[in-house]
Point group: C2
Chain length 662, copies 2
């Protein structure tokens, strides 16, 4: 029996025998779809929408809702009658990631809050009577008088630096000036308004602020217009301190050297300043127009940034100098903003749970509802918070920088050219890649690591102990200088799956992009530490991971994280995928919200105060759980049922799969 398949939007039609694979039918009509996973229904790249009669070999990748809406994977579907097929463009698939089966992915954007709070900084225009012999009040008292008269603002204070320019500015503007005023702070809400800057004439142009996230591995800045609350630009780079140690403990040890603390301090300030210079240059903005900075980071990062001695964070009983740092002027820290800019380091919670996590909780909103939520920030430290509006419990576990693309052979940050998604053909072990910006691959970022390791594991290239299968008949698995490795992309290779046409310029510096067995061990230790953290935290409050209603993932991954692969390697617990939500770098997003809103800033402090900190270094359960988690996905496969099923499905002979074969 012949069935007619009409294909849209091309309008092509083809007749095929009943039982033909839909993928083959489309290919015969000249509309071949990529099959990166090798016809195994894992990659979701052959997703189409159908109207008509089909048989599905597997719907494992699709939700019931998606099946009801007619979504189908062409490789897993056979034609059973006349059929109308809508083929989404690649762009459409990528732009609407939510339609991609199962693996919950959400585009991450900086979002301001809904509060209508007064901004930290406002530019006010003042017109002032010129002095005379009869009205010979000083410049400063004259200005104060007009603040009160024209804007109802009283008791303004100013630093010596601002006073030093006062006389000249008043006269340069012919007694019209624009005052940049900071009103109150979170620490001293009743503090007098502070004059940060005075510009001659009517210069009520934009005033800017920056949110800064200082990660152990990566530093991110967001530039915002404080009045319009618009995100203007952003930039990220590796923390220059990496040269002095890859994780928090190494940095603390380095800081004990003679001059070590000052070197770490200046390295991170240089990193931040370079990012500031980058966005200011790109936007044509003067550093002097930036008046506020919020800073999030773990306690050690904040200590190093402020030049505070972190050494007692590293020694039992793990005591930071301060959880609530004082506001500091940019000049005092050497930040290239307006010298008077207020630099607000968000408060920490415990020795290893910091402002980054309070900011992340703010972004997640978990502190506002009753839904029991597990928040995890995957960074060099994996910090985990469990709770809801009633209570919050936090812990931290040292994951290392592997998920941030550091400390692994071909790792890189989530930047253009970073491989962020990988599919491996089970039969050939050949990879298909997707890179950020669809440019030729330069390295592998964190989400790419998860995707790659997950693929290598489910396709059997890597075993549960993390060892590469050297018996496979493929040049991709080889013995490199650092031991066994998998070659993800050959030097000059352009099979990045994006059809890039630039002929291989500027990629990977002429080296193969590989994942070594040592890298795999790093990744397994990292995911094991985080998973052990989940387990101990839930256990400590008498719950199990199944009780968790929502799992929020934060981290410096790319735009997406492949939850399925993260579960496959045992990084995330095996609970229904719809419970997962990926929010990207929650630390910078929380800092960004606090930059734009006093209420959000106050909420960060409130979150920090409410959070109970569980010190894992003092917890034997953690080491037990960690040891159990040093396998893919875990020693106890029973706690990963979906992974167990998938492994069984892939390992079984074709006939045993659900539905008929072609």
């Amino acid at each position: 029996m012949s069935c007619t398949v009409s294909i849209h939007p091309s309008g092509r039609t083809i007749a095929v025998a009943r039982g033909t694979s839909l993928h083959d039918a489309l290919a015969a009509a000249g509309e071949g779809l990529a099959l990166p996973c090798g016809d195994q229904g894992r990659c979701g790249r052959c997703l189409v929408r159908i109207e008509g009669d089909v048989k599905r070999r597997s719907t494992a990748r699709l939700s019931a809702e998606q099946v009801a809406q007619g979504w189908a994977l062409a490789c897993q579907t056979t034609v059973e009658g006349d059929l109308r097929v809508i083929v989404p463009s690649q762009e459409e698939l990528l732009a609407r990631p939510e339609v991609i089966a199962g693996a919950e992915k959400a585009a991450v954007t900086a979002q301001a809050c809904e509060h209508a709070a007064e901004p930290w900084v406002r530019a006010l225009r003042l017109t002032i009577d010129a002095p005379t012999l009869e009205d010979n009040t000083t410049d400063w008292e004259r200005l104060q008088r007009e603040f009160a008269r024209q804007h109802g603002v009283r008791g303004v204070v100013a630093s010596l630096r601002v006073l030093r320019r006062l006389a000249a500015t008043l006269r340069a503007g012919d007694w019209t000036v624009t005052a940049v005023l900071a009103r109150g702070t979170w620490l001293e809400p009743d503090a007098p308004p502070r004059l940060l800057d005075l510009r001659p004439g009517d210069a009520t142009g934009p005033s800017y602020g920056v949110a800064i996230d200082i990660g152990t591995t990566s530093v991110v800045v967001y530039l915002a217009d404080l009045a319009s609350r618009a995100l203007v630009d952003q930039a990220a780079a590796y923390n220059g301190q990496i040269a002095c140690g890859e994780d928090v403990i190494s940095r603390i040890i380095y800081a004990r050297r003679n001059g070590g603390l000052e070197r770490l301090r200046s390295l991170v300030v240089e990193t931040i300043n370079a990012l500031l210079d980058e966005v200011f240059a790109r936007q044509g903005i003067a550093a002097e127009d930036v008046y506020w900075a919020t800073v999030a980071g773990n306690p050690t990062m904040i200590h190093l940034f402020l030049g505070l001695d972190p050494q007692f964070i590293g020694l039992e009983p793990y005591i930071p100098t301060v959880n609530h740092p004082v506001p500091v002027r940019a000049e005092e820290l050497g930040l290239r903003l307006n010298p008077e800019a207020v630099v607000d380091c968000h408060p920490g919670v415990g020795a290893y749970v910091g402002a980054d996590i309070a900011a992340g909780v703010l972004r997640s909103g978990m502190h506002e509802g009753e839904v029991l939520t597990l928040f995890i920030d995957v960074g060099t430290n994996g910090e985990i918070v469990l709770g809801n509006s009633d209570w919050l419990m936090a812990c931290a576990c040292s994951a290392g920088p592997a998920f941030e693309g550091a400390g692994v052979a071909s790792g890189m940050r989530a930047a253009p050219g970073a491989i962020e998604e990988v599919w491996i053909d089970r039969r050939t072990a050949e990879p298909t890649l997707r890179t950020i910006g669809d440019t030729p691959p330069k390295g592998i970022c964190g989400s790419g690591m998860i995707s790659l390791l997950g693929e290598l594991f489910v396709t059997g290239v890597v075993d549960k102990g993390g060892r590469l299968n050297r018996d496979l008949d493929t040049p991709r698995v080889r013995l490199g200088d650092d031991g066994p490795e998998y070659v993800l992309a050959w030097a000059g290779d352009s099979n990045d799956g994006s059809g890039s046409q630039d002929g291989g310029r500027d990629r990977n510096n002429g080296r193969d992009i590989v994942l070594t067995e040592a890298d795999i061990q790093n990744l397994i230790r990292a995911k094991g530490a985080i998973y052990a953290g989940f387990s101990v935290l839930t256990e400590s409050v008498g719950l199990t991971l199944d009780d968790v209603e929502r799992i929020v993932i934060g981290g410096a991954f790319g735009k997406y994280i492949d939850v399925e692969k993260a579960v496959a390697i045992g990084l995330l617990p095996d609970v229904p995928w719809e419970r997962f939500e990926y929010l990207g770098n929650t630390s910078i997003q929380g800092a960004y919200r606090a930059l734009l809103c006093r209420e959000c800033r106050a909420a960060v402090t409130g979150i920090g105060n409410k959070m109970t900190y569980l010190e894992l270094s003092a917890d034997n359960r953690f080491m037990e759980q960690f040891t159990s988690a040093l396998f893919l996905p875990h020693t106890d496969l029973a706690s990963f049922p979906s992974v167990k099923r998938e492994l069984a499905r892939l390992a079984a002979p074709p006939g045993s799969e659900e539905g008929g074969d072609t």
Copy 2:
């Protein structure tokens, strides 16, 4: 007839003829007294006390009370019967200046007030529980907890600098520390207590403060122990800015040069730092133990010290940037104190009446009583305040630095070796000198200038126009390189009147000490400006100088000022001498009181706020009065009746004097 004169304390007795000069009688008995003024009853150096019958040729130098007490000038007294004479020692005469006829002189000392106010800064000892895994509060919150528990102090704030040393200090002192805490300020009495320093262990030793007077010509520092309120040391030097101009206007002009303001700022900071180094070294005190500084000075000096642009002080309508400067940390100004030390610049009043005057009024106490008082601070600017507890009116007139020993050929500060009192023998024009510290003369200080010019005038060496009498038969008046001059001391000369025996080492650098006609003109302009200020100020409130009940003189003179001579040259008004009171450098004394007392500091602000400022630059009456005052003592000799009488007495033939001759 022979009379018996018994002399005490020596016990000698001599018989002399009736009518013998008492001075001659004493000389015959081997008890010759110095007669610096040449037997004219002007110098008071032959003052003795008598019991018995005498005739007085003149009692002009003595008050009625002193005559009643038996005081007499030996040179002006003849023996009329048996007599008992008590000869005070030189030391006694100098140590009890109040017995010296007429010229009111008071020893000037730094005096703390009588208030019992809490000091600005206190050192508190704290013992802190060491942290444990159970009690793992941060270092800073732990310290805060103990501030509240042990001292009832809450909400302490600290700068980043102090926080940076916190962790190490707590542990270095094995959890006992000494906190140096500043409580509130005059600007923000409700401001949170501020931790200025943290010392390991129990280190509740002294905390120091400095009062600084920045004069246009001279800079003075007083070092005090803040807890015991004791004056520890003091030092003074010329303001290094003199190299850039001698008066306020020259400095303002210099500040307009490229880099000029910064150069002036750093010059005065260097001057202050050198004085601080000097007293700290002498007392063995560390700069880090000095936590508070009060600064008085005229508005231009305060502007330059703070790096504020003074140029609009110099241009009509004469507008300072600020009258009430913000408190600044020592570090920000480059002062070598504890970097966290609070530097409190006292408030100014108008463009040319500053914190120095408010401080001086505080010292004078004129703001507290009903006595109509005229306060004059003789410096490079002569500032004058008239009023009492009901009202205060102030003006300033540019005198130039002559009275501070600058800008005149042989001028120097009131320091050891400075000539501060001069007597001239009318017959020979030979001088007798008294120097500070009774050391060989090195130059002439301000009070010496007044004394010298007064003597030159009343002895006829200088005429009322300020010209030297070149017809006199004396080598003292000669034509020097800079025109006519009077030689006060020859190079290597030791006739300093003090019997110094050091043979002329280290004196005057081998040059004669002279007063040139140009110097005299400088002095006349200076005294004329000040006198014109008195006149206009009293006139502006409908009073005359006769209405003034008390005249308080401040200024960087030596220990004394010779009021008689100051009246003789027309610097001070000719009112009864008992109305005068000399308080020395009132600016530093006011700053010193405010350093030790919050109430005094608040009073300085209150005084400044209460003071009405009269701008003389806009007042035609001032120029008229100034022109009239450019003579010795004044165009209108009638307003100087005592000077007129004295000139008549000295000019008259011997027979016309009161009483008989020998």
